[in-house]
């Protein structure tokens, strides 16, 4: 054996959990039939929206591993990232199926260019651990995102698309833990020292310009919501605001008064128009795959 890793690759039909070793059966056996009347292009785009939100935030959270304020938090953020990565894999696989072309989750994650990603801009901005933010900003973003996604997945569990419904019903249980985690940290930081409270307030101010975009209905979402497949995010606003206001009231915080970030000629993250942070994020996330296409280890 030439190196210690040879034994991990292609040992008969045993697949091991590593990039490039054929680990692609995440949806085997799930009823994959597309609803008969669905617009495949719309369904592809919608699965990318939901999947890219999860994938890109997963990447951002993983950046904290080994750099969080305490060891338990390294583990917690990595666990949350792993849950989101799992959701992203199922959703990107569904996007590839709906699209009907020969591609898979890896191709979608690692070979699309910036303008092809359909995540909301909230998940891509740099909230730390580097100079783009800090732990409080990361918690502020997680609080907003998990609250939004939990409300969304709860409704999506009733989708006519059997795969979206199953992914959503499972995701509800996971994201409920993410939301609680972020809410508890928000209370802890806001109720800690004057310094930690300032950071929490600044963190909320940092992410707030990106909140409105989550609730702006994209034409794809509108059409698929009418067809009983997607959720119109505008309908989630009241519930999400209620939850966030409950957290803010308990933490003695007020909702930030910061203007929303404008779209570009009416186009934003869901149309592939991203912030300057996105290119750097993709460069890091896609680097290995693009440098060594087809590599296995």
């Amino acid at each position: 054996m030439n190196n210690a890793y040879d034994g991990l690759v292609d040992a008969g039909e045993e697949r091991h959990w590593a990039f490039g070793t054929g680990f692609t059966a995440a949806l085997s056996g799930v009823d994959r039939a597309l609803p008969a009347d669905v617009d495949r292009e719309d369904l592809t785009a919608y699965c990318l929206m939901l999947g890219d939100d999860a994938l890109i935030l997963s990447q951002r959270l993983a950046e904290w591993c080994s750099r969080a304020p305490e060891l338990e938090e390294d583990v917690a953020l990595a666990n949350i990232a792993l849950d989101l990565l799992g959701q992203a894999r199922l959703l990107l696989t569904r996007a590839a199926e709906a699209d009907g072309v020969a591609c898979d989750e890896d191709a979608l994650a690692f070979t699309r260019d910036e303008h092809e990603f359909r995540n909301a801009r909230l998940v891509e901005i740099d909230c730390g651990p580097g100079p783009g933010g800090d732990f409080a900003a990361t918690i502020a973003r997680l609080l907003v995102f998990a609250t939004f996604r939990l409300a969304l997945l709860q409704r999506l569990a009733g989708s006519r698309d059997p795969v979206l419904a199953a992914v959503a019903a499972k995701g509800v249980k996971e994201v409920a833990y993410h939301r609680d985690h972020a809410a508890q940290w928000t209370l802890r930081l806001a109720g800690g020292t004057e310094f930690s409270r300032e950071r929490m307030v600044a963190g909320l101010d940092r992410v707030w310009p990106y909140v409105d975009e989550l609730f702006t209905t994209h034409p794809v979402e509108a059409r698929l919501a009418d067809a009983g497949i997607a959720v119109d995010p505008a309908e989630l606003r009241a519930e999400v605001d209620d939850v966030l206001d409950t957290v803010f009231a308990a933490a003695g915080l007020t909702r930030p008064e910061v203007a929303p970030l404008a779209s570009v000629n009416g186009r934003a993250g869901r149309d592939g128009v991203h912030t300057e942070a996105m290119g750097y994020l993709l460069a890091e996330m896609q680097h290995v795959h693009r440098s060594m296409p087809g590599a296995t280890w």
Partner: protein, 163 residues
Amino acid sequence: MVTARAVAAAVLDPELPVLTLADLGVLRDVEEDGDRVVVTITPTYTGCPALDEMRADLTRALRAAGYADVEVRTVLHPAWTTDWISEDGLRKLAEHGIAPPSRIGPRAAGPVPLNLEPPAAVVRCPRCGSPRTSELSRFGSTACKALRSCADCREPFEHVKEI
């Protein structure tokens, strides 16, 4: 001859090797037809990296038992819950120092309630039995476990959190 169901049910969970896949409640179905077997499993958490190891372990065990054609399918619906861990499974977890989950029953309809504090449910220390334990972190060494500590024996321990 040992049935395919018995072989599949005895395969151990890769991350909680004190439990079998049947104890954990992830083994949903085993269909046997001659030397062909179709096993259906469900993941505990969506991103659980152990799923592929389970698939490989099931295939290996069934091949070794003489089944030439083994297919392992994954279902997501209905979503796994800790309520599917068997009574035997709960006992084995406690015996190995991992606090088992409480039974939670079906979730109530309507929005998921927000917990601004860790839930107050009593989790007994699996070492000394004390009910005076507290949560250190909701997220432990695997997706399915939280980290707690005991105020009496002072030991940290893991708890399979309810989901």
